[in-house]
């Protein structure tokens, strides 16, 4: 099969033309937009699964675009880490897009407007795929801007306030991308190369120079902003809350993870932390900021009365776990962080989708107004939400437990008791804000005056339930099979030289 020789580039090459074809297909028939989006994300997910299998069998794949060999040309690199995260991103995106038909039709009611919505969503996914597979720093910047611009659009189609949230995100996001670009300028002028592998080879020669240290720090700050690393998280709560539910379910699970992946790439694969600017503790700084972010996000989540806003703050806390793994910089921490990329993607997609169900059927997702009625009328949605919530708290055998477990092992390995304390404390805080919702859904009797409106409330349609139940099942199944994921994929993904 000739075309599969090009498989590293295929997810991008499927999603980009699909994003352009969707508006054209929408002219013929509006429903085609949805079907095309599902088809292309499904294909991309299938190809990524194939790519991961290839990488597991034969090691990293280097794909030279146009046959130009690096460092002259741009290369795409699929190793265990990128192939794994590409698969996670594309599968989650497929499920969320599959889910989105009814929700998008309801949340973007203007006729014909959901056609560009799908086009923009695919552009964003295409950008994410590009960031994940590219082996070239400037190419990464271009993909970053493609995904970010699409992301602002996806946020801005929400309710009345969404444009303001999107504008703030645009300002912050552009500052982040600009910092990355300035940092790259420093590194490029000192090394003369943009290729990641080439940069890694040249870097030891310039490691002592201030330009290298400044460049690296600027790049990390830039992606820290994109990743919503505390205290650069300011854009996130509004953006996730004001975006339509299907957008938040698409952005929240994968958006910040892609930025976290770039930090993995920068700090562990290209610039070995010990060499970067005379032992500059960049990774450690990320770790400490993340630890602060975990506590901050969890406490703020407890204070929220709106489910989507609570989930947004919880995202800040959860991205902190990934940063914590970066800060630990040992193999347990790394495995825990990468595992958490997958786990949090599954959990957050599930939780944002169920929040979308509540919004669609009840007309709101304010936590103090939830009660037993919601559960009786929407038993499957509530059950799925509970599975996601329990997994966030970290109850085995749900996936959420295992990434925390590896992170905890990593902190013990480093004898870093403060980080261990943070992980344990945040699990308790998670329990506080999720059990609060579960308690209302299962135990609080519905008030008598709700009797009239409740007859209108019913379970979400099957097209929405199927992806949600699949995600809920995935939480348990992936949790039970986590040993296979860790042994089969992640241990091979641990960067060389890390213990």
């Amino acid at each position: 099969m000739g075309i599969l020789n090009n498989s590293p580039a295929l997810p991008v090459l499927i999603l980009l033309p699909a994003a352009i074809l969707i508006p054209l297909a929408g002219l013929v028939r509006e429903r085609l937009a949805y079907h095309l989006a599902v088809l292309s994300t499904g294909l991309a997910a299938a190809v990524s699964a194939l790519n991961l299998a290839k990488v597991l069998e034969g090691g990293a794949i280097h794909y030279w675009l146009g046959g130009w060999f690096p460092p002259i040309g741009i290369e795409y690199v699929l190793d265990h880490l990128s192939a794994f995260i590409v698969l996670v991103v594309n599968v989650i995106a497929f499920l969320v897009i599959l889910h989105s038909r009814v929700l998008v039709a309801r949340e973007i009611p203007a006729p014909g407007k959901h056609v560009p919505y799908y086009a923009v969503a695919l552009l964003m996914l295409c950008g994410f795929n590009g960031i994940l597979v590219t082996g070239d720093f400037f190419n990464l910047y271009v993909w970053l801007e493609i995904s970010s611009l699409a992301l602002y659009g996806l946020v801005a189609v929400g309710g009345k306030k969404s444009a303001v949230a999107a504008f703030r995100y645009l300002i912050m996001g552009t500052i982040g991308a600009s910092f990355y670009l300035i940092g790259l300028a420093f590194l490029f002028t000192s090394t003369g190369t943009l290729n990641m592998a080439d940069m890694k080879a040249v870097f030891p020669h310039i490691a002592g120079q201030p330009a290298a240290a400044v460049g690296l720090v600027l790049m990390v700050v830039g992606f820290g902003l994109k990743m919503a690393l505390f205290p650069l998280h300011g854009w996130l709560p509004d953006a996730y809350t004001q975006a339509p539910s299907s957008s938040s379910a698409l952005i929240a699970p994968v958006g910040t993870k892609v930025a976290a992946y770039v930090l993995f790439r920068l700090l562990f694969f290209v610039f070995v932390p010990e060499e970067a600017g005379r032992g500059l503790p960049v990774a450690q700084a990320v770790g400490w900021l993340s630890a602060a972010g975990i506590i901050f996000g969890s406490v703020m989540a407890i204070a929220q009365k709106e489910m989507k806003r609570m989930l947004a703050y919880s995202s800040i806390a959860q991205i902190g776990y990934i940063g914590l793994g970066i800060g630990l910089a040992n193999s347990f921490g790394f495995i825990g962080a990468v595992l958490h990329v997958m786990n949090h993607a599954v959990m957050k997609a599930l939780l944002f989708l169920t929040a979308g169900h509540f919004r669609m059927r009840l007309g709101h997702s304010r936590i103090p107004e939830l009660d037993e009625t919601a559960r009786r009328r929407m038993p499957w949605t509530t059950a799925a939400f509970s599975v996601g919530a329990l997994s966030m708290v970290g109850l085995p055998p749900a996936v959420g437990f295992f990434s925390k477990w590896y992170l905890a092992l990593g902190t013990i390995d480093r004898s870093n008791w403060i980080f261990l304390g943070v992980i344990l404390a945040s699990s308790l805080l998670n329990a506080v804000y999720f059990f609060r919702v579960i308690e209302r859904l299962y135990l609080v009797k519905s008030g008598p005056k709700d009797g009239e409106s409740e007859s209108a409330v019913s379970e979400a349609p099957a097209s929405m339930l199927l992806p949600v139940l699949l995600l809920a099942a995935a939480i348990i199944v992936l949790g039970l099979l986590n040993a296979f994921v860790v042994k089969g994929v992640l241990q091979a993904a641990v960067p060389p030289g890390m213990t």
């Binding site: 271009v142 801005a156 309710g159 009345k160 306030k161 303001v164 500052i175 670009l181 300028a185």
Partner: protein, 128 residues
């Protein structure tokens, strides 16, 4: 010291422009001024890249029979310019999205001042 200041005047200019741009984006309350700050920041970065490609007594990177191909110091590097062409396109696209959002915000709230905007947004609940 004066050598340090004067010898790097290009970088100082870029540095001042970057600071101005960041100041505009973060401190200015008017949304359009924020976008202007963004443009200034982007231009500063573009100038920084291009200034690193400067070489005295060198020519465009097309093979000149009189100079030969043996001495790379006689040709300037085209890469920075190519990169910045892309960055200019990205900057234009970002400005486009930014101004589109500004128009939307104006249509919804009839103000572009951040303080007033926050006042008027208080009345709205979170999006449904």
């Amino acid at each position: 010291m004066s050598e340090f200041l004067l010898g790097h005047y290009g970088y100082w200019l870029v540095f001042v422009l970057m600071a101005l741009g960041l100041y505009g984006m973060v401190v200015k309350r008017n949304l359009v001024k924020k976008l202007i700050g963004m443009a200034v920041l982007q231009v500063a970065i573009i100038m920084f890249y291009v200034s690193t490609a400067v070489k005295w007594e060198a020519t465009i990177p097309i093979l000149d029979p009189a100079l030969g191909a043996s001495d790379p110091a006689r040709y300037i590097s085209p890469l920075q310019h190519c990169l910045m062409l892309t960055a200019i396109v990205v900057g234009v696209a970002t400005s486009g999205v930014g101004y589109a959002l500004v128009v939307t915000i104006w249509n919804r709230y009839k103000t572009l001042d951040e303080g007033e905007l926050l006042e008027r947004m208080k009345d709205d609940g979170d999006s449904e």
